[in-house]
């Protein structure tokens, strides 16, 4: 959960990018890292296998600026998407303030999306969270791929509660910041208590 340091006038939030293997969670963070100003970002840490698949997590600290004299800092994490890393995913969800579910828009990945979404809900419950009460956005990634499903078809299954949703092509940055903003907005609103 958020950490407020009244002494240093800082507030820190933890948000997690979740989704099936190869949906583009790490790519989202890489883009944010690439375009953020040097003074706003820390080092990006990736715990990955030799084939660049996320093994434990990616981590990117990002400074969003000041709100009412408080430095607002977001710690962005990804989880490993591959099914068998479930134990690691559970650990990364601990103390989360907000979640972005990154869906792979390709028709062939629909089952993987649904399985991952179910897994997210289940793992959050194990940590004492309810997805419906948590700041939460959905991103439909890989909109540039040839065999993608229309959002109108993805949305009823992957976003039944109609949280803010965004189309993205994370590899070229399309929709990446819109998604982050959508999530950050909810996280701060929740802190405000509205």
């Amino acid at each position: 959960m958020s950490f407020i340091n009244y002494s240093a006038r800082e507030i820190n939030f933890k948000v997690v990018y979740y989704g099936p293997g190869l949906c583009g969670k790490t790519t989202n963070l890489e883009w944010i890292y690439k375009v953020s100003k040097p003074e706003a970002k820390g080092k990006m840490v990736s715990l990955a296998t030799e084939t660049e698949r996320t093994l434990f997590f990616d981590f990117l600290p990002l400074d969003l600026g000041e709100i009412r004299g408080f430095k607002t800092r977001f710690h962005l994490y990804t989880v490993p998407g591959q099914v068998f890393y479930d134990a690691s995913r559970k650990l990364i969800l601990r103390g989360v303030d907000g979640v972005c579910f990154v869906a792979d828009s390709q028709d062939a990945r629909m089952d993987a999306n649904l399985e991952s979404l179910e897994n997210l809900r289940h793992n959050l419950e194990e940590q004492g969270f309810n997805l419906d009460e948590l700041p939460y956005v959905v991103q439909y990634n890989k909109r540039d791929m040839p065999e993608v499903l229309p959002v109108a078809e993805l949305s009823p299954s992957l976003n039944p509660t109609q949280v803010p949703e965004f189309e993205a092509v994370a590899i070229d940055g399309t929709g990446v910041f819109e998604t982050l903003k959508g999530l950050a907005r909810q996280v701060i609103q929740k802190q405000r208590g509205s």
Binding site: F3, G42, F59, I67, L91, R94, G95, I188
Partner: protein, 159 residues
């Protein structure tokens, strides 16, 4: 909720820093970090400019979380301490009050035995501070966030 929000005020931070500074001095360690189990750095002592404390805190928390996962699998309640021995620098990590990680980076200027001894004392002091903090009612200062407007949030992201 398993991990309620952590709010620290001047008073506690000063006490925490004093414990860190005392431990730094008494153990003759290089660096002391006090990290939330979620990976947020709370206080530090003896940090030199090159040390990336943000990444370090996140990795330490990941490490402790993974070890905690192992403990759960083998039905052990918690591994309260961890030690990584390096050629030049070694790392000692201890869980304090179930939610804080006390990290000591030390070199050949001291010994593991001395570090462990001093950590035990610091652990007791920190447990007292964090237990008192957990029992403390939420102060009026929390209202700062109630005043945040949608415009404030929009301004964060610029035009």
């Amino acid at each position: 909720m398993l991990n309620p929000q952590l709010a620290l005020y001047d008073e506690e931070l000063t006490e925490i820093r004093e414990v860190a500074d005392r431990l730094h001095q008494d153990s003759r360690a290089r660096t002391i970090l006090i990290v939330d189990k979620n990976g947020q750095l709370i206080a530090a002592s003896g940090v030199d400019a090159e040390l990336d404390t943000t990444s370090l805190s996140s990795l330490v928390a990941g490490n402790v979380a993974a070890t905690g996962g192992i403990a759960k699998l083998i039905e052990e309640e918690e591994f309260t301490g961890q030690y990584h021995e390096g050629k030049e620098i070694s790392v000692h990590m201890t869980i304090v009050a179930r939610r804080i990680i006390l990290v000591v980076l030390f070199d050949k200027n001291t010994t593991q035995g001395l570090v462990r001894l001093r950590v035990k004392k610091a652990n007791e002091a920190l447990t007292g501070i964090f237990d008192a903090l957990a029992a403390k009612p939420k102060g009026a200062q929390e209202d700062v966030f109630k005043e945040i407007t949608d415009e404030d949030i929009d301004n964060l992201f610029g035009p």
